[in-house]
Amino acid sequence: MPSVLRPILEFAGVTRAYGSRLALDDVSLALEPGELAFLVGPSGAGKTTLLRLINREIRPSMGHVWVDGLAAHNIKASRVSALRRRVGVVFQDYKLLPRLTAMENVAFALQVGDLRVSDDEAKERALDALEAVGLGDRGDSFPHQLSGGQQQRVAVARAVVGQPPLLIADEPTGNLDVDTSWEMMDLFADIAAFGTTVLIATHNVEIVRRFQRRVITLVHGRLVRDQPAGRTGRMAWLATS
């Protein structure tokens, strides 16, 4: 029976040009609620451009980008913040504020995104989010007191504390060792299992192959392959750069 769920993320004929160079060329795809997908491709394939289009850091040159029903391709500047509250973002370099504790980093994101959140509520929800990523006992630690994996977990907690329907991660395991990378991927899988759509841009072939999830492959800005979950083995070579 075909799915009747509205896609959380939808690209329709999206092209993004930088001068005469096409970073993305006529890309169309859709992600449904709770789906976990990998975005792979060599360096310069357009992965980061695609993620930046989702978050409306840039606009497409052509085509439509829909995020949870919002038209990211032509959204007003004053509404961009509303769109971004629907998208959690995780970076390779964590981007935590060094002068705030782990709990404060998470609470900060919650409160600046929604001024109606009180201190008590922010603290409670931040601790819940940290608990969920396995750092319930490190809320008072500053980023420099945490390992790389722990910092990335704090970043994930910050990304999901507002309960966005979509989570995007740009090379989230790029700075992590192998074991920590697996833990991180398990965490993303858990998040997806609770209904959040997760899109992970990665170079890590091993992770892509073992997780057997949907894999979207970009090469030179074109979507060259969109492998459904469970059939990812044959395309793993494309993820190498």
Partner: protein
């Protein structure tokens, strides 16, 4: 009753309190904390803003004083002294007086005797020495004609200059170019003052914009995170605009303090060196300067933020 679900709205007052607390924390307290933390980079902006406001205030007060001076000079220029010859007959003087009084362009005509002219001269700067230099009275009697419109002074002068009762050598006090010279001088001062202030304003705004750009750069990570977690645009920009406003306000307070000190030290002598500049006027100017500082600081920050903080 047990088991009933009671639907209750979140108390509005509490919600307002929470929002106000968060705005105060992230906008005002955050801006103030960052301003003090980065005072080194804000110092040039603060200095130039203070200098701008101080000079603006001074130029404004000088301009006000000159405006008052010009008003006085204008009133003086519309007063035409028609000097009566020493041997003029009373009938000729009366006749001239009557004709002038009947002229619709003239507001009033009064007669000043030689003795009154001498007495008046003794109260004018530089003339007492002249008045006492000779035993005789060198000042002539005059008909003092108050002309309604200053532009009619020249025609009244032409009208009376060759009257039989009028002194043929020094017939009137009319100086064709005097008023125009004063006006040209004041206009020149005003233009030069405004140009100077414009230049200084440009420098102050540019320096403030650069200090805000430095502040944005130093907090790039925080700004990026705020943008990415969906903070409203005004909340991302707000602290920087408030930082600029703090710079302007502090500069304004410094100028306000200097002005207050000036008022306290020399309130009685204002009227002597600057006609019309009372303590109240100076206080109003200081308040205006403070408001200008606030506006300039926040305005230049806003420009900088719009230029450097767009995602």
């Amino acid at each position: 009753m047990a088991g009933d679900v009671v639907k209750a709205r979140f108390p509005r007052r509490l919600l307002i309190q929470i929002v106000a607390t968060n705005i105060f924390r992230y906008l005002f307290r955050g801006a103030a904390r960052n301003w003090f933390r980065n005072i080194g980079s804000a110092a040039p902006a603060l200095s130039s803003m203070t200098l701008l406001l101080l000079l603006s205030g001074l130029v404004g007060l000088v301009g006000f004083a000159l405006y008052n001076l010009e008003t006085i000079q204008s009133a003086e220029a519309s007063l035409l002294h028609v000097y009566v010859r020493d041997d003029a007959r009373a009938a000729d003087v009366d006749s001239l007086w009557d004709r002038l009084a009947a002229d619709p362009r003239i507001a009033s005509v009064t007669y000043t005797t030689r003795a009154e002219a001498l007495a008046r001269a003794q109260h004018m700067p530089g003339l007492p020495q002249l008045a006492s230099a000779t035993e005789s009275n060198p000042f002539p009697a005059s008909l003092d004609v108050r002309v309604k419109n200053i532009n009619d002074v020249a025609s009244i002068d032409r009208l009376v200059r060759y009257e039989i009762a009028v002194d043929p050598v020094y017939s009137t006090s009319y100086d064709r170019g005097a008023y125009q010279r004063i006006q040209a001088f004041l206009l020149g001062i005003a233009v030069a003052g405004l140009a100077f202030l414009g230049l200084l304003g440009f420098v102050a705004v540019t320096v403030t914009m650069n200090s805000i750009r430095a502040a944005i750069h130093s907090r790039r990570d925080e700004v990026t995170i705020m943008q990415l977690v969906g903070a409203p645009r005004w909340m991302v920009r707000g602290p920087f605009v408030i930082e600029g406003a703090i710079t302007g306000a502090v500069a304004g307070i410094v100028v306000f303090g200097l002005t207050a000190a000036g008022i306290a030290a020399a309130s009685t002598s204002f009227a002597q060196f600057a006609p019309g500049v009372t303590a109240a006027v100076a206080a109003f100017a200081a308040a205006l300067v403070f408001a200008t500082g606030l506006g300039l600081g926040s305005g230049s920050s806003l420009i900088s933020v719009r230029r450097h903080l767009e995602s």
